[in-house]
Structure formats: C-alpha cells, structure tokens
C-alpha cells in the first residue's frame, strides 16, 4: 500500500508514575495501521492494549517515541474528530433518550439541527436500533445499549473507530451476534477499526491484523496478518485456516508469559 498509514507508532513508550514506583505500560511499541484495517489488540490484563488505544485517542500521552493519527498528533486528530471511541461499558447518559445520546456529540460539534436528525436516523438503522430513538438507556438490554453506544461513536462520520473491549460484559450469544453485525457494519462503512479484546476467537474472527501483546512492560510480541477473507460467515470459525491463526495467537500469548 502506497498510502500513508492511518496510525503510525514508532518506539512508543509510556510510563505511569504511581506511588508504588513507575509502571511501564508501553515499551518500544512499533505499529502501522492502514486505512480500512480491522486491528485487534489481544493480551492479558496489564499488557497495555487499552493504554495504547487511549494514546491513539489522546486520552493518555506517551513519555517517549512518536505516534501520528492521520499524520497529526493524537490531540490534533481528536480535535479534528478523527475517531469515535466505544468504551467497555455503554456509558450512555441516563437522562437522555437513545436518540438524545447519539445527538450529544453532534450538539457538541455544532451540527445543524436538520443534519443531526438525519445522522441519528442513519446510524440507528446501521446498528439495527431504528424505532428505539425515544427509549431511555435503562429500558434497553445490555447488548442494545452497547449497540447504541457504537451508533453514538459513528454519528459524526469519523474515519476511525476505537473500541475498548466493547462486548466484554455481554454473554456469548449476544457477543456472537454483535460480532457478526460489527463485521457487516465495517464492510458497509469502510472504517478503520482498532479493537481491544481478550478473547482469541473474537480477535481472529474480526480482524485483518492481530496484535499480540504481553505485560510488564507492555509490548508487542507478534503481529499477525490474517489470511482469512474479508467476508466471514460465523461458521468460518470451524475452518482449518481459522484454527491455525487462533493457534498462532495462542502461541504468541504463551511466549509473552514465558518468563513470568
């Protein structure tokens, strides 16, 4: 690919100063993410996968190395509305309806009223929640709330979607369904997606690129370009190719733990 990477990290370091001494959350992280990639970050807790995503979002600032998002610093990229962020929990504001929650970023970014309504209708349809606009978050199931929060992240047409274990709190069946929907959404919108997870099947099923990380200090141990086709029915998870990738991810995770 000749195009410049959407996310480009070089020798990225991040050390948190805590009362118990410094914690190396990220050490020497090099990574390129191209436009249209679906990149999963997988690893045990404390391996820095969420921290890396937060650095991309400009929520944490690296203590060494460089990172650019769309060729800009993460803070500039954030101000240019480069990404939508989906958190571990839906985090919808309970005093706003589903429609009102999706409208929140549009209000802050100063979209015109008529444009707001059109965008809300579009993203609600995209996450299969049309007709729930006037419901309050606490009237919806956990899976529906998380879909609404994805709609909120998509509402302002950011090119990049950053997702931090978005389905971690949901049960297996709902999770399968949402994974399938997410792939469909990714195919339709052609977004670049950064996805943190600690489920191997989830990472392999969703990603074009899997980044395996290990803790203390948080670093990348393997980057796997998935040989699987872009179009993936759920039963692709029983094919030998899928199992082979999953095996390589598992090996990578084990290697990271070797000297623990």
């Amino acid at each position: 690919m000749t195009e410049r990477p959407v996310i480009e990290a070089k020798d990225l370091d991040l050390t948190f100063q805590t009362n118990d001494g410094p914690i190396h959350a990220l050490k020497g992280v090099d990574l390129n993410v191209n436009k249209g990639d679906f990149v999963s970050f997988i690893g045990p807790s404390g391996c820095g996968k969420t921290t890396f995503l937060r650095v991309v979002a400009g929520l944490e600032h690296p203590t060494g190395g460089t990172i650019t998002v769309n060729g800009m610093s993460p803070d500039e990229a954030r101000q240019n509305r480069a990404y939508g962020y989906v958190f571990q929990a839906a985090g919808l504001y309970p005093w706003r309806t589903i429609g009102g929650n999706i409208k929140l970023p549009l209000e802050i970014m100063g979209y015109a009223k008529s444009e707001q309504d059109a965008k809300i209708a579009k993203v609600l349809e995209l996450v299969d929640l049309a007709g729930f606009e006037k419901k309050f978050p606490w009237q919806l199931s956990g899976g529906m709330q998380q879909r609404a929060s994805i709609a909120r992240a998509l509402a302002f047409d950011a090119e990049i979607l950053l997702m931090d274990e978005p389905f971690g709190a949901l049960d297996e069946i709902v999770r399968d369904h949402l994974n399938e929907q997410l792939l469909e959404l990714w195919a339709r919108t052609e977004k670049t997606i950064g996805f943190v997870t600690h489920s191997i099947p989830e990472a392999v099923y969703l990603s074009t690129k899997i980044v395996v990380m290990s803790p203390r200090p948080g670093r990348i141990t393997d980057v796997i370009e998935s040989p699987l086709p872009r179009e993936r029915p759920l039963d692709i998870r029983d094919t030998p190719e899928f199992l082979e990738v999953a095996h390589r991810v598992r090996e990578g995770l084990r290697a990271g733990h070797a000297y623990d």
């Binding site: 954030r78 101000q79 929990a89 985090g91 504001y93 005093w95 970023p105 802050i108 309050f136």
Partner: protein
Amino acid sequence: MGWVVFAVAFWLATWFLNAWIARGPHAQTRAAGLLVPVIFGVTVIVVWEALVRGLNVPGVILPPPSAIWVKLVSATDILWEDFVQTFVKGALSGYIIGCGAAFVTAVLIDRSPFLQRGLLPVGNFVAALPIIGTAPILVMWFGFDWQSKSAVVVVMVFFPMLVNTVQGLADTTTMQRDLMHTYSASYAQALVKLRLPAAMPAIFNGLKIATTLALIGAIVAEFFGSPIKGMGFRISTEVGRLGLDMVWAEITVAALAGSAFYGIVAMIEKGVTFWHPSQRS
C-alpha cells in the same frame, strides 16, 4: 367518662377497620392506599378531641381540635397576613436567594480545588453558628421587617445547598468524562451537558433539606424583633396572652405550608431526575 370510653371505642374500631383493609383483597389498590392514612388521621383528631373533653384538659395545655379549627376559620385574615409576611416574604425570598447564591458559588469554585478546600470549611463554620445567636445580629443589621428574616434564611440554607451542589458536580464517572474528552468538549459544554444533569439528584437533596430550614429560620428570626405581624411574632405574643388556640392555629398553618413546600420541590425533583434509579419504578 363517656368521652373517654368513646375515644377508646373509636380508636379500637378504626384500628380494626384499617387492619381489615390492609389484609383484604383490595389492599394494593390506590383507593386503599389513600383510605388507610385518612382513617388514621381522622382517628387521631377524634381521639384528641374526645380525650381533651373527657379529661377536662385546660385549653392552655392542649386545646381541642375544634377550638383550633374555630380559630383557623375566624382569624383567617390575620393568619393569611402572617403567612404572607413570614412564609412568602421571609422564608421564600431567603430560600431563593440562599439556594441560588450557593448554586452559583458551587459552580464558580468547581474549577478551583483551592477555593473548594478554602470555602467549604468557612461555609461549615457559618452553618455551625447557632441561629439564636446570629438572628438578633442580622435583625440589627437588616431591620425589623422581612429583610432580616430573609437574611437569616440565607445563612441557614446556603451551606447545605453548597455542599450538595459541590458533591453533585463531582458525581460523574471517569468514562463519562473521558467521553466528553474524546469529543474535545469545552469546559462549559461538559458542565451543561454532563455535570449539571448528573448533579441534579444531589442538588435536589440540598433543595429539599433547605425547605424545612427556611421555614424554621424565618419563624425563629421573628422572635428577635419584627413588625406586628408574622407567624413567629404571633406565636411569641399569643403565648404571653395564653392564647394557645392561636398558637396552635399558626402551627397548623406552618405545618401545612412546610409540607406543601417540600411536596412541590419533591414533585419537581421527580420530573427532573426521572432517570435516576431512586426515581424509576
């Protein structure tokens, strides 16, 4: 003797009636929910009346409800004048000024941990001053009329309202704040769209506590000087003239006004914080 027997009989009869309704098949209906407390209230008044008559209790110790009712009806114009003076002019204006000032102060010191740590102890100190001590001073400063009562109320409601608002503004989760940050929201946007709505349950706690404080403050402040009207003035002078029926009439008005005031604020709260787990259902 007949009155006492009647009181006991009436009490037992309504007791069994309420127990019967509460155990009956319609116990969960709205009508039963209204009827039971009404029967209880009527019982209290009837038993009170009968015992006062039967035991010949002097009116100075405890007047019968009928005498209080007669006073309520015959002295309506005086009671209304006192109500306007004490509740509307003194308590309500002080409540609005005090709560409003506390709210504005809380929002202003919100950005500065230095001011928060500095101002909260000062507010606490002022709130700890006994009302009996501060009221006469404020009467000296602001005159005998309602303005000094208003000032006493301001002093009383300011601190609880300030503490509740400051606490409410801090009542957001990291995720909710991070979300605002990912939108590059300004301080004002985050305040209006996240922190103020999230603060509403705590703010209404402050507003509810302040309703009762306001009425107490306005009545007590009148003991230390007032024009010849007002609920506190009337209570203190009528006690001196042994006009206890008038005192009880004023207490009735104060109780009704205080309950209605609290009820209205609680109703607004229900409308504003409908989303809070404590208000759903």
